[in-house]
């Protein structure tokens, strides 16, 4: 009986791994609908994010960008919808996912040091009793070094600048050694140095065959940072490779009149030709 159970588990794990190897999609969402106390945040959203690429989720404030990530990760309940991550269920794929929440979602006066926060990325691996080994500590310092924060490891997190706080969050995600990174507005309100460090780290992750999905607000950097875009405003507006999808039409449909024509022209010098 016991042996059977063990075999079943291995078989299932193998199937899951095969799914991962065959999968062309990092995240597939079907018909996702989310509602908070009478207000529809997401309405029947389908999405397909390619594997091993950098994808952006773009849309105006209140378009449901963060709600989308939270519903995908089952942080908030959804009314309906199906989520597949590397063709696996969320539960099966959990260890492959690293989530970077919005910096403003937590209280930074919490009594913890930079290193404490990064160590939290190891809690799952350590279990309830596991001791932190020197190897773990080394990994934590390496993760901090990648985001340029190793020399502040013992600082209280409340004393960091916004950009530094965001980098600590990224380091906590890095130490998980995941395959899919989901980031909620990682570049919101950070300094230029932080933005440069973070985009370098994310691009390096992509080169190492990781998949990255960012909720993103800065339209000016979409083209240079991302190779896949997903436009959302409660409903899906468009998705596809940045080159063919990041167009004035899609921007206008997503943002409506909020986005002035001149703004679009800045992003697309040839826009006047297209719309004329």
């Amino acid at each position: 009986m016991l042996i059977n159970v063990a075999l079943n588990l291995t078989a299932r794990d193998e199937r899951a791994m095969n799914n991962y190897n065959r999968s062309k999609s990092a995240l597939t969402v079907l018909d996702l609908t989310v509602s908070y106390s009478g207000k529809t945040a997401l309405f029947s959203v389908d999405a397909n994010f390619p594997i091993e690429s950098m994808s952006a989720i773009i849309g105006p404030n209140g378009a449901g960008k963060s709600s989308f990530l939270k519903a995908v990760l089952n942080i908030t309940p959804s009314l309906s919808g199906k989520v597949k991550i590397f063709d696996m269920s969320l539960k099966q794929a959990r260890e492959h996912i690293a989530y970077v929440p919005q910096r403003t979602s937590i209280d930074w006066d919490f009594p913890a040091s930079v290193l404490d926060v990064v160590k939290m990325g190891l809690y799952r691996e350590l279990g309830l009793f596991g001791w932190l080994t020197t190897a773990h500590l080394k990994a934590a310092y390496e993760a901090l070094d990648r985001v340029g924060m190793a020399n502040l490891a013992n600082r209280q997190i409340g004393q960091l600048s916004g950009g530094q706080q965001q980098r600590v969050f990224l380091a906590r995600a890095l130490i998980q050694n995941a395959k899919l990174y989901l980031l909620d507005e990682p570049f919101a309100g950070v300094d230029a140095a932080t933005e440069r460090i973070m985009i370098d780290v994310l691009k390096e992750l992509k080169t190492n065959c990781k998949s990255i999905i960012c909720v993103h607000h800065d339209l000016a950097t979409v083209r240079s940072y991302f190779d896949h875009v997903f436009f959302i405003n409660i409903e899906k507006v468009a998705e596809g490779p940045t080159a063919s999808t990041f167009t004035p039409e899609n921007l206008r449909t997503t943002y409506g009149e909020r986005l002035a024509a001149t703004h679009i022209e800045q992003l697309h010098p040839d826009a006047s030709v297209i719309t004329a």
């Binding site: 089952n74 989530y99 929440p101 209280d107 919490f110 913890a112 926060v117 340029g148 502040l152």
Partner: protein, 408 residues
């Protein structure tokens, strides 16, 4: 005084020793479980829990009397209190999840309704035609006079269980308190973790009803944690400091109340605990008010002195009264407003330091040094002499104007 010392060294008779030991253990468990409540920002929930025990005590008393037993059976009364307190907690969480009311509103409503119902029940009990009602009022403010050996056993077991649970679940609890969304994504059962925190608080409340009383248990849960917060920036340290404060204040408080007749235990414990809080509020070295104010004042003086020296170096007129006072006191400025030779040397040093910092910030950009610069840390505190030599070599290559304008 003698009585107090005897109580402190467990030499005041069997009963007092028992109470002192029990209360100390209780203070320890209350401090440690209150810490998570505090970090989870749900400190007020324990107030509702405590007040919601009252109807349970009343109902348990009535039930036990009607069944022909002794209404004062502690195990029975505690069971009753746990039942209604759980009901109160469940009601709060139901209201928060299913309506748009916030937690503070839900706590206010539940607390007053349950407590009011409890008072009604106690009034009914007082008018019942049976004996032994006396003693129930002790659950309000606590009394240790009649503590039995079995009560001490219950408290000890509860304390050990609390500490064991916290050692087992401290990582998930900390994670949920710090970043609940991230905890979800790592597959932790957040509801279960929250439930465990509440269950611990409930257990501590129930076993401490007899000693501290339901009105003051909130103080024993929360004050140690907020006191500990003044002493440290690390959550794992808060746990142990808070439990230590809880244990020590219960120990001293019980000994005090045992040595002076008719001094109630619960209030005395809370007063001892509160004096530790007030002491820490002002004098704690990490976050105490006096240290913070002193540091701020020192920094203000450094800023003014620095600005004054830089102004001296560029022969600008200084008008700020504090700056002038500080410059004179440092013997950098004569009474008539002319810079002394010390003043000139120091001004040149300040200018050099400023220029070196601007270069340093540029070449060591990724080392997060801005905060040192903003705190006016002297450059030789942060860099080695070789690094400063390197900075100086860059400094000599550049014309001074380009440095002063480069970083703003």
């Amino acid at each position: 005084m003698n009585n107090f010392l005897n109580a402190l060294i467990f030499n005041a008779g069997y009963n007092t020793n028992l109470v002192t030991f029990g209360a100390t253990l209780l203070g320890f468990s209350a401090g440690i479980s209150g810490t998570f409540l505090f970090l989870r920002k749900r400190a007020l929930v324990c107030d509702a829990i405590a007040h919601a025990t009252l109807p349970g005590i009343g109902l348990a008393f009535i039930t036990m009397v009607l069944l022909g037993g002794d209404g004062r059976n502690l195990a029975g009364l505690l069971t009753g209190s746990i039942v209604t307190a759980s009901l109160g907690t469940a009601t709060i969480s139901w209201i928060v999840h299913n309506t748009r009311l916030t937690e503070d509103a839900a706590i206010g409503a539940v607390l007053s309704v349950f407590f009011g119902f409890g008072i009604v029940l106690l009034t009914i009990i007082q008018s019942m035609a049976i004996g032994y009602q006396a003693g129930l009022e002790h659950f309000f403010l606590g009394a240790t006079a009649g503590m039995l050996f079995q009560d001490a056993i219950i408290i000890s077991l509860g304390g050990v269980l609390t500490v064991a649970t916290i050692l087992l679940l401290r990582r998930p609890m900390m994670l949920v308190a710090f970043d609940i969304n991230y905890a979800y994504t790592r597959g932790y059962n957040v509801q279960l973790v929250d439930f465990t925190i509440m269950a611990l608080v409930l257990a501590v409340t129930a076993i401490s009803l007899k000693i501290v009383g339901l009105i003051l248990i909130v103080a024993m849960l929360i004050i140690p944690a907020v006191t500990a917060r003044f002493w440290t920036e690390r959550s794992d340290h808060i746990l142990w400091i808070a439990s230590g404060i809880g244990a020590v204040s219960s120990y001293i408080g019980t000994a005090l109340s045992a040595s002076v007749s008719a001094l109630p235990t619960g209030p005395v414990i809370v007063i001892v605990c509160t004096s530790m809080f007030i002491f820490s509020l002002f004098l704690a070295p990490a976050r105490g008010i006096i240290v913070v104010m002193y540091n701020n004042w020192q920094f203000q003086k450094r800023v003014h002195l620095r600005q004054g020296l830089l102004a001296l170096a560029s022969s600008e007129v200084i008008r700020d009264a504090l700056t002038l006072k500080l410059l004179r006191r440092a013997k950098c400025l004569r009474k008539d407003g002319v810079a002394t030779s010390t003043g000139i040397i120091k001004a040149q040093q300040a200018v050099l330091d400023e220029r070196r910092w601007k270069i340093a910030l540029r070449i060591f950009e990724k080392y997060n040094l801005k905060s040192h610069y903003y705190r006016l840390t002297p450059i030789d505190v942060v860099f080695t002499s070789e690094e400063i030599a390197k900075i100086d070599s860059i400094l000599t290559e550049l014309p001074t104007t380009s440095i002063d304008n480069s970083i703003t």
